[in-house]
């Protein structure tokens, strides 16, 4: 009781120390790479890979909220990314037909990304409502089916190009935009996880019946978690569309979801830090192997073709899972990603 009072009595500063550290860290990260690119010292290929990996951070952390923190096994995540990508790309490319420069088009693009997120969240809500009453394998099958349904529906809509997709999307997803969205996504997800919603989700993951008994409205929280996860998947998809400048339904198929799922499990189920590390690590690993194989081919007398890339990649994934069964981070977090109040709670046993 006493401990609680001290926490409440303390004046909460506007910027908490760790939030500040995280912000400064992100700004420094952004500043370094931004300047390097600006002055042409940074290879544009690596810049591209950094952008892609940051988008994967958004996709992975949001899937971790569903699969890791609330313990629901969803394998239709890229379906929501498809909704976000198609909503925003349809708006910017087909409806508004924006030029790729200017302040006006740019703000419309930001609006379209957020609308993409909202559309994905809406679809997530609709799908979550009936399906989240299912558990385990059944939920997995249903989410898989819905992910495929979204893809097939897009395939049959001629207005958005059907199976041919949407080409010629303006390239709005700059490094700066992606960094800002990634930062915001991670902060929002962190705040949700350490709020009462997060607590409810964790309790559902640990024991659904017990949490219902203590008064947690399980369906409400599961649908909420699912909807938030879908929202950020939509944001990630919208950013990806405006980076690659082309989308088609196949890009958001089952295998794409599996790729994000791998990142969640390699990073650690129930660890945002793990998702961030794995999303960046795996993207760089997959690309780094291109360069590695180039070198091997040049140095060794054997011919090492690019078809070996996926073989080595898979072996590395298997090895990681064997030696780090709980993923790279388990359920641990970087200190900057834990709100300071948590330390108090941990100390006094809240």
């Amino acid at each position: 009781m006493k401990a609680k009072e001290t926490v409440q009595d303390k004046k909460i500063p506007l910027f908490k120390k760790r939030d500040f550290q995280l912000l400064v860290g992100t700004v420094i990260f952004w500043a370094i790479f931004y300047t390097l690119t600006k002055f042409g010292m940074m290879n544009l290929y690596w810049m591209h890979i950094i952008n892609v990996s940051l988008i994967y951070v958004i996709l992975t952390t949001s899937l971790n909220l569903i699969n890791g923190f609330s313990g629901q096994f969803s394998i239709g995540h890229m379906g929501f990314a498809a909704v976000g990508a198609y909503t925003s790309a349809t708006l910017t490319t087909i409806v508004w037909n924006l030029p790729s420069h200017g302040v006006g088009p740019f703000s419309l693009f930001i609006l379209s990304v957020i609308l993409g997120g909202i559309a994905a969240a809406f679809i997530g809500f609709l799908i979550g409502l009936p399906t989240l009453r299912l558990r385990g394998d059944y939920l997995a099958i249903v989410t898989l089916a819905f992910g495929e349904i979204i893809r097939v529906v897009i395939n049959s809509i001629n207005f958005v190009g059907g199976p041919r997709g949407i080409p010629g999307i303006p390239r709005f997803s700059s490094f700066t935009v992606i960094v800002i969205f990634t930062f915001l996504s991670v902060i929002v997800l962190r705040n949700i996880i350490y709020s009462s919603i997060g607590r409810a989700l964790l309790s559902i993951r640990e024991d659904e019946v017990a949490s219902e008994l203590v008064g947690v409205h399980t369906t409400y929280y599961k649908v909420l978690g699912f909807t938030v996860g879908a929202f950020f998947a939509g944001i990630g998809g919208a950013l990806l569309a405006h980076l690659i400048q082309y989308i088609n339904p196949l890009q958001f198929g089952f295998m794409a979801t599996i790729y994000v799922l791998i990142m969640v499990y390699i990073g650690g189920v129930g660890s945002l830090s793990g998702s961030i590390v794995a999303a960046i690590g795996i993207t760089f690993l997959s690309e780094g192997l291109r360069l590695g194989l180039d070198k091997l081919d040049q140095v060794t007398p054997f011919h090492v073709g690019p078809e070996w890339r996926m073989v080595i990649f898979s072996v590395l994934l298997v090895a990681t899972m064997l030696y780090k069964t709980n993923g790279l981070m388990g359920d641990m977090e970087f200190k900057v990603l834990i709100p300071e109040e948590e330390d108090e709670n941990a100390k006094h046993g809240a």
């Binding site: 290929y45 395939n155 997709g165 082309y246 088609n248 690019p306 078809e307 981070m329």
Partner: protein, 394 residues
């Protein structure tokens, strides 16, 4: 939540260090060229050509053939002394037939390897993801096999070596009307695929403008295996030919079911028919069927015969259309560099525009949309074999 996470931090740090190590080495060696354009290197260094194709993933067999086509063309040039007196070297990347991977591969080839030009990719979706990167960097690109008309619309640095979907439908209509003397045609096509709908649409347009009559025009949804409903309607209308511009697995079944329903006339299709599996599925039913293709290994053209002989010796299998297109695309690009007299992207682009090249898949010149004006071959299926019939010029 345990505080002990030294291991996790260590692992992540190591990863970051290792990865950024590669970034920095990548930077320091290539600081001279930051806009990703093609650089004029010293005379002794080889000219680097980027090659992209899916050698893993769902389109792996297409990628393999195409890549062998690239390699063979390159070897021939090097045996002749290279381009502009320098050796040419292929930097090959896999795109897994995935657009995101294709964008990564194109970006790597242009910004990290500083290739002079890119030949690729195979699927239209991958070419559409890679083309904006090539266009932005001013690196000329030629796709051997992407038939979607939108690929070359990305910009003036993007070319293609194959004909586009509308052309194939038009050629098929001409052949059916002029050579098979058919006046009534029925069409059956997959409405879920743009390739199929595109071919069907342009076949109908051309056939009608020649004076023929489309007696039935039936679509079926993706994944259909029982075509009896559509075929009954078509056969009731008594067509001289049936046009089925679909992929080989559907075409085989369509042929089989049409024969069972009593249709004996020819069934005609597009390059989607070009697969050995067609005979496995269709059996005898695909006899007396024709399809349009990019290339026939039985053509009498000595250039084609030489290519087929050499390819078969080298890889132990006869070349398919993808290998031929990969071979032609690489040859076109290298010829353009030779004609340009320079490895400058803009000059190669101009040389490509004015190219006049006799390849194994026909005589190639580019129109104003950078699509080739070239011929198509008609292939007849007889007893499980593809027989060359004729070449149709546009």
């Amino acid at each position: 939540m345990k505080r002990r996470k030294t291991f996790a931090v260590l692992v992540s740090l190591l990863l970051v260090v290792a990865l950024f190590g590669t970034v920095l080495t990548g930077c320091s060696s290539k600081t001279a060229n930051n806009n990703g354009g093609s650089s004029q290197k010293t005379e002794s260094e080889p000219i680097l050509i980027g090659g992209v194709a899916p050698v893993t993933g769902p389109a792996a067999t297409y990628g393999k053939s195409t890549k062998q086509g690239y390699e063979m063309a390159l070897e021939e040039w090097n045996a002749k002394g290279g381009v502009l007196g320098r050796k040419v070297k292929l930097v090959f990347e896999d795109d897994k037939a995935d657009p995101t991977e294709a964008a990564n591969a194109f970006s790597k080839l242009i910004n990290d390897n500083h290739v002079v030009a890119i030949v690729g990719s195979v699927t239209s979706s991958c070419s559409l993801a890679g083309a904006p990167i090539a266009q932005r960097a001013g690196v000329p690109m030629i796709t051997p096999t992407s038939t979607n008309p939108k690929v070359t619309q990305v910009g003036d640095y993007i070319f293609r070596a194959c004909f586009i979907d509308p052309f194939q439908g038009t050629v098929a209509a001409k052949f059916v009307f002029n050579n098979l003397k058919a006046r009534k045609a029925g069409v059956i096509y997959d409405i879920g695929q743009d390739y199929n709908t595109g071919l069907a649409e342009f076949f109908k347009k051309e056939f009608e403008s020649l004076g023929g009559k489309i007696v039935a025009y039936e679509g079926y949804p993706d994944g259909t295996t029982d075509f009896n409903t559509q075929l009954t309607k078509i056969i009731d209308a008594k067509p001289d030919v049936i046009y089925s511009p679909n992929y080989y697995n559907d075409d085989g079944l369509i042929a089989k079911q049409a024969r069972t329903l009593g249709f004996t006339g020819p069934i005609v299709g597009g390059d989607g028919w070009d697969s050995p599996d067609l005979f496995k599925i269709g059996g005898d039913a695909v006899n007396n069927c024709y399809f349009t293709n990019h290339f026939s290994k039985d053509s009498k053209d000595p250039k084609v015969q030489a290519f087929v002989k050499k390819y078969t010796e080298k890889y132990g299998e006869a070349p398919d259309a993808l290998a031929a297109l990969g071979y032609d695309a690489m040859n076109i690009m290298l010829t353009a560099i030779q004609n340009a007299g320079s490895t400058d992207g803009a000059k190669i682009k101009d040389a490509l525009k004015n190219i006049d090249y006799q390849g194994v898949t026909g005589h190639i010149k580019f129109d104003k949309d950078r699509n080739p004006v070239k011929s198509a071959v008609i292939i007849k299926i007889e007893n499980g074999k593809q027989v060359y019939v004729t070449t149709i010029n546009p």
